[in-house]
Each structure stands twice: as structure tokens, then as C-alpha cells.
């Protein structure tokens, strides 16, 4: 089946992804799309440690992910595709020609970022990247866990969380 979950999370594979999403949704595999991680055995080892038995992880560059998309589509298991930032997700969707439901799951505080939700901090440039992603056909929401309500893009871009 086609990958159902496209998630942007700067922590990539971590507890919230494998336990908070992976277990309730019965994820069979994760595709971690990141050029840097795909090129490094050490980085892959780091993230592989977080994946429980019974869940498979694929490490792919953006280019590789584009070519592997059909193989993942044929996989009967439920899958999640992860990128660490908006730009990588945008490049991937543009190169694959796909539209997707993209979840912003975690973009944490950095200098220059403003809090929009408890788990989403954005620079003005990143906000525009999300708008562009939506304009290209993606449905963009923010959602940290499956049990919480997805927040539409327009809602969280118009919201400034108080400190």
C-alpha cells in the first residue's frame, strides 16, 4: 500500500515516532529520507538503535527515495516517511510528483524561530516553505501524537504561542 504517513520531525527516529505513532498505528517500516544520514553508516547505526524488532527502517537519500517509491507502494505493511526538515520533504515531493498529507510533528526551538505550537517553532522562511508545500498540493497539518487533534496549517501559522 502507498505510504500513508509523511512526517517532518527534526529528531527523525525517536521515542515519539516509534512508540507514540509506530505502535498504535502498527507501522511495519519507516523510510528515513535524508542525504546526510543515507551517506553515513554511523548515522544509520544511531537511528537504527531506536527501531524496535518487527519494524524495518530504510535509509534513503532524496534521489533514492524517489526511485524507491514504487517498491514501498507495493509493500503491504503500513509505512511512514520521515524527513528532518521542510525543505527535504518539499524536494522529495517535487521530484516524485506526488501529493501527500504531510504532518509537521516536531520542529524545535532554534534561534530565529518563533513558537507556533508547543512542538512547532518556525522561521519566516520555514513558514513560507510550508505555504509553498501546501500550494503544491500537499495537505499540511501539525500533529505530535495520533491521539491529539491535527492542527491545519492556516491555524498554526496564524497562532503565536505565548512564552
Amino acid at each position: 500500500m502507498p505510504i500513508e504517513f509523511y512526517r517532518i520531525d527534526d529528531r527523525l527516529i525517536h521515542g515519539q515516532v516509534v512508540v507514540g505513532w509506530g505502535q498504535p498505528l502498527g507501522l511495519g517500516f519507516i523510510v528515513l529520507v535524508d542525504d546526510e544520514v543515507a551517506a553515513s553508516d554511523w548515522e544509520q547505526d544511531l537511528y537504527r538503535m531506536g527501531v524496535p524488532p518487527g519494524m524495518q527502517v530504510f535509509f534513503e537519500s532524496v534521489a533514492e527515495a524517489g526511485m524507491a517509491a514504487r517498491r514501498h507502494d507495493a509493500d503491504p505493511r503500513r509505512g511512514m516517511l520521515l524527513t528532518r526538515d521542510i525543505a527535504t520533504m518539499a524536494r522529495l515531493l517535487e521530484s516524485s510528483g506526488r501529493t501527500a498529507r504531510v504532518t509537521v510533528g516536531g520542529l524545535h526551538h532554534r534561534p530565529g524561530r518563533t513558537a507556533r505550537l508547543r512542538y512547532v517553532f518556525l522561521t519566516p522562511e520555514e513558514e513560507q516553505e510550508l505555504r509553498d508545500l501546501a500550494s503544491s498540493g500537499a495537505t499540511v497539518t501539525a500533529q505530535d501524537l495520533p491521539s491529539t487533534r491535527p492542527v491545519p496549517l492556516a491555524d498554526f501559522l496564524n497562532r503565536e504561542k505565548s512564552a
Binding site: 527534526d10 529528531r11 527523525l12 527516529i13 525517536h14 521515542g15 516509534v18 554511523w42 544511531l46 537511528y47 537504527r48 538503535m49 531506536g50 527501531v51 520542529l107 524545535h108 526551538h109 532554534r110 508547543r118 512542538y119 517553532f121
Partner: protein
């Protein structure tokens, strides 16, 4: 294995970092302090709201500030563990222990060996401390 405890003065020992999600580290260190009084041996840190590089910087700066060479984390493969491994990559003498429990921290705090010896001992004690009590069918 010599338990290294007899005759030791654990209060003069070294410091370890404890880092995890939410208030995990502060909570578990508070429990250790209540039980053995050596909570000050640990520096509790949280990864709350922090980007991965900020978690790594937090671990690194606290290791430099305190001289800690052992880092305890809450979840194997979690962002705290990833950060601890990145912060100590290529540096000698560091030990990262993931999946920490109160039993592990108590054993580490009470051990008189080197920090890494104490960590290895503490992990064994932690594993031994896991038990299912009153399992169905048990006498």
C-alpha cells in the same frame, strides 16, 4: 564481580549526567536522593523543546562543566541517547547508558570503582532488579 561497595565513600565520587524526556531526569534523581542521599552526584537534564543540536550542546557543555564521563539516558534510540552518542563521539573515556532506572542510578552512586566500572556494574544491577511480581499462574 567485586561489588566495590564495601568500605567505599561514594559521596566523594564523580558526577554523571541524567537526561531524558519531560521531567524524567529531575524525577528519577529526586528519587535517588530520597533513597540514598546522593542525588547531587547526578546532573538532571531535559530535552524538552530542544532541537537535536541543542540537546547535544547541552550534554557536551554539562560534561565539560562537571567533568562527567557517564551519561544516563531514558530511552534507547531516543533523542537524548542520540545526542549523548553524538556529543561523545570520538572522545575517550565516556560511557552512555540508555534505559536507566532508579536501581541503575543507585548502584552507580554507591559503587567505588571508576565511573565506567560503576556503570557496567549498575547495568547488571538494573537488569537484576527487573521482576514481574505475582504473575498469573505463579505460586
Amino acid at each position: 564481580m567485586n561489588n566495590g561497595i564495601t568500605g567505599a565513600d561514594p559521596s566523594s565520587g564523580s558526577t554523571a549526567i541524567v537526561i531524558g524526556h519531560g521531567d524524567f531526569a529531575a524525577g528519577i534523581v529526586s528519587a535517588v536522593d530520597v533513597i540514598c542521599g546522593f542525588g547531587s552526584r547526578f546532573v538532571p537534564l531535559t530535552n524538552r523543546n530542544l532541537a537535536p543540536e541543542a540537546i547535544e550542546a547541552l550534554v557536551r557543555s554539562n560534561c565539560e562543566r562537571t567533568g562527567a564521563r557517564v551519561i544516563f539516558t531514558d530511552l534507547p534510540g531516543g533523542s537524548a541517547t542520540v545526542a549523548a552518542r553524538r556529543a561523545t563521539r570520538g572522545a575517550d573515556g565516556f560511557t552512555v547508558v540508555s534505559g536507566v532506572s532508579v536501581a541503575v542510578l543507585l548502584a552507580w552512586a554507591m559503587h567505588a570503582g571508576t565511573p565506567s566500572e560503576a556503570a557496567a556494574f549498575a547495568v547488571e544491577r538494573g537488569r537484576a532488579g527487573l521482576a514481574v511480581i505475582g504473575a498469573p499462574g505463579a505460586d
